[in-house]
């Protein structure tokens, strides 16, 4: 097996100030635990998929030869200025792009100076990849529904499994996106809404006990109400990368917590 780790992580600029809120500190600790695990497993490549990088005209794969710059967050521009540098495995990106096309998901490899990598991926990489091991990124295709996303992930998983390197697959996504819509004191940040809190609790219970039927029902019943992040397509993406094409083992949910009212999670699969 070359895919040695899978994780679902949520990140936001608030995590750059973990001292402000114990919940932020908890999420950061969770990310750092995943990073330690990646090291133990000898992870040599990370493949990111983020709900904050969307594609609409086919599938996009990050193949930047010079993916360096400073990203200013669109929302928190006064406090979130992120220098970034990614070492991108261009060959891996090209292989994935070609494989996707062959499977009916045509698209393109992206290699452009000053390409705006999304905030969530930059922050995830900052915590998960301090040693700058090579990565690539796969865009979240708006026109791929959950089924198609899973199908694409399954095709790409076959390519990843045929590689020599030990690979980690990381989905970057929130659970709910019910942000606070007015300025709050970050020390008082909490997951917004009773329904959202209940959803997160049910979600964690289901994935921690491998109760996939309850998980499916929870998402179908409550998903729309709590403004899930891109319809929780991240789950379809991750499920497609499982050897059997479906979840089987319980997840190790390290932590959940608020990100300006939205709900975040750090979990290992």
């Amino acid at each position: 097996m070359t895919v040695v780790a899978r994780a679902l992580v949520s990140t936001a600029p608030q995590l750059l100030k973990p001292e402000l809120n114990p919940a932020y500190g908890g999420l950061v600790n969770g990310l750092q635990a995943v990073e330690v695990d990646f090291k133990k497993l000898g992870v040599e490549r990370i493949v990111y998929w983020s709900t904050q990088w969307i594609s609409v005209l086919g599938q996009m794969f990050q193949a930047g030869s010079d993916l360096t710059g400073t990203h200013v967050d669109e929302n928190w521009h006064e406090s979130c200025e992120l220098p970034f540098h990614f070492r991108v495995d261009q060959k891996l990106a090209a292989e994935l792009c070609a494989g996707a096309a062959k499977a009916g998901f045509p698209g393109q490899c992206i290699d452009y100076r000053d390409f705006p990598v999304d905030t969530a991926t930059i922050i995830a990489d900052r915590f998960l990849n301090p040693d700058k091991i090579p990565v690539t990124m796969v865009a979240c295709n708006v026109y791929c529904d959950n089924e198609k996303t899973k199908s694409l992930a399954s095709e790409l998983f076959k390519i990843l499994e045929a590689r020599k390197e030990k690979i980690a697959i990381v989905a970057v996504s929130l659970l709910s996106t019910s942000y606070h819509t007015s300025t709050i004191d970050l020390r008082e940040d909490a997951i917004r809404g009773d329904e959202e809190n209940a959803f997160v609790a049910n979600f964690v219970r289901a994935v921690s006990s491998a109760d996939w039927i309850t998980l499916s029902k929870t998402i179908a019943h409550d998903g729309a109400k709590i403004r899930t992040d891109m319809g929780l397509k991240a789950l379809s993406w991750l499920e497609g990368t499982m050897p059997a094409g479906r979840f089987s083992q319980p997840w190790n949910v390290l932590v959940t917590g608020p990100l300006y009212g939205a709900s975040g999670i750090v979990a290992q699969l």
Binding site: V56, L57, G58, E78, I110, R113, Y143, T181
Partner: protein
């Protein structure tokens, strides 16, 4: 940059200014790295008319509301004297890698923030000079004024129309429009407004001809239903039937996935006092299946616009 002038400012024109990056790509300006063989000429010719109008009006500032600068908490307004850098479109990077430079009317921007706060809206100035300006803002501004010789103010699209229901979201944009108009009046600016929005917004899931994005033999509306919706909306706006427009807007947004849901057009029309004179249609065209109209509202010339609504052209 302008110094403070008090009172008597006015909105001298408003434009529906759609921002497919394809239009800048097709223009081949020196600022954009990718080069093309042209394409989408009817829309680009429509913009040429707008440029001429803007030159005649001699505005102090162009304000643009862009759905590709989406903000969660309140309305953000560019408020740093100079913004420059390279903007690569994350969605169409093969078409749009644009080296921009723009002077910002900071006084007006700050006045808008103040007026918003005074009206109970959340608002924030964007004062970071390293901020990357989004392609929606740049495309609309470049197509309206490729000389870039008029100061600008960029306004973000607060997420409220998607976060809440149609009524609450558009009400938020309506208040933003009123706050903008007050700020313009108080600072004495002659302002042009630009709503950076496409109409029907469902598009092809793949590039029809990846080897030649400007292959016009592949260009058409995504569906007949979208086309019929676009025509209905354009006709309402040409006829100045503003109340009827706002009545059908939620249904239009739902059925045609219209980008005006993001609030730019509501912001502009409310800032202009819900104009009941007809808008001038400069052109309509599709871009990868979406429906795009370039339209103009000219307050000083409303009688002429009314006659135009019955079929005449300026």
């Amino acid at each position: 940059m302008k110094t403070t002038r008090s009172g008597n400012g006015e909105i001298v024109a408003g434009f529906l200014a759609p921002h497919p990056p394809h239009l800048v790509y097709a223009e081949n300006p020196t600022q954009n790295e990718p080069k093309s063989r042209g394409g989408w000429e009817p829309l680009r010719w429509a913009y040429e008319n707008c440029r001429q109008r803007i030159k005649e009006l001699k505005p102090d500032v162009i304000l643009v509301h862009s759905p590709h600068w989406q903000t969660v908490v309140g309305h953000h307004v560019t408020a740093t004297p100079r913004l420059e850098g390279r903007s690569v479109d994350p969605i169409f990077p093969h078409l749009f890698r644009f080296d921009y430079g723009m002077d910002v009317d900071v006084e007006l921007a700050e006045a808008i923030v103040d007026e918003c706060k005074g009206a109970g809206l959340e608002a924030k100035p964007m004062q970071n000079p390293k901020f990357r300006v989004d392609y929606g803002t740049i495309v609309s501004l470049h197509m309206l004024n490729p000389d870039w010789d008029i100061p600008v103010v960029g306004i973000s699209a607060n997420n409220s129309p998607y976060f809440y229901d149609d009524k609450i979201g558009q009400e938020e944009m309506s208040q933003l429009g009123h706050a903008t108009a007050k700020a313009i009046a108080k600072t004495g600016r002659r302002a042009v407004l630009a709503a950076s929005n496409t109409l029907s917004h469902l598009h092809f899931p793949q590039e029809p001809n990846p080897g030649l994005p400007e292959d016009m033999s592949c260009e058409h509306i995504q569906s007949q239903a979208q086309y019929e919706w676009d025509v209905k909306i354009i006709n309402l706006l040409r006829a100045g039937k503003i109340d009827e427009f706002f009545e059908v807007m939620p249904q239009f947004c739902r059925e045609a996935f219209a980008e005006i849901k993001a609030g730019g057009l509501t912001w502009m029309l409310e800032a202009m006092g819900r104009p009941r004179y007809g808008a001038k249609l400069h052109g309509y065209g599709t871009v990868i299946g979406t429906g795009n109209a370039v339209m103009e509202w000219l307050p000083d010339n409303s009688p002429k616009s009314d006659s135009q609504a019955s079929g005449g052209q300026k």
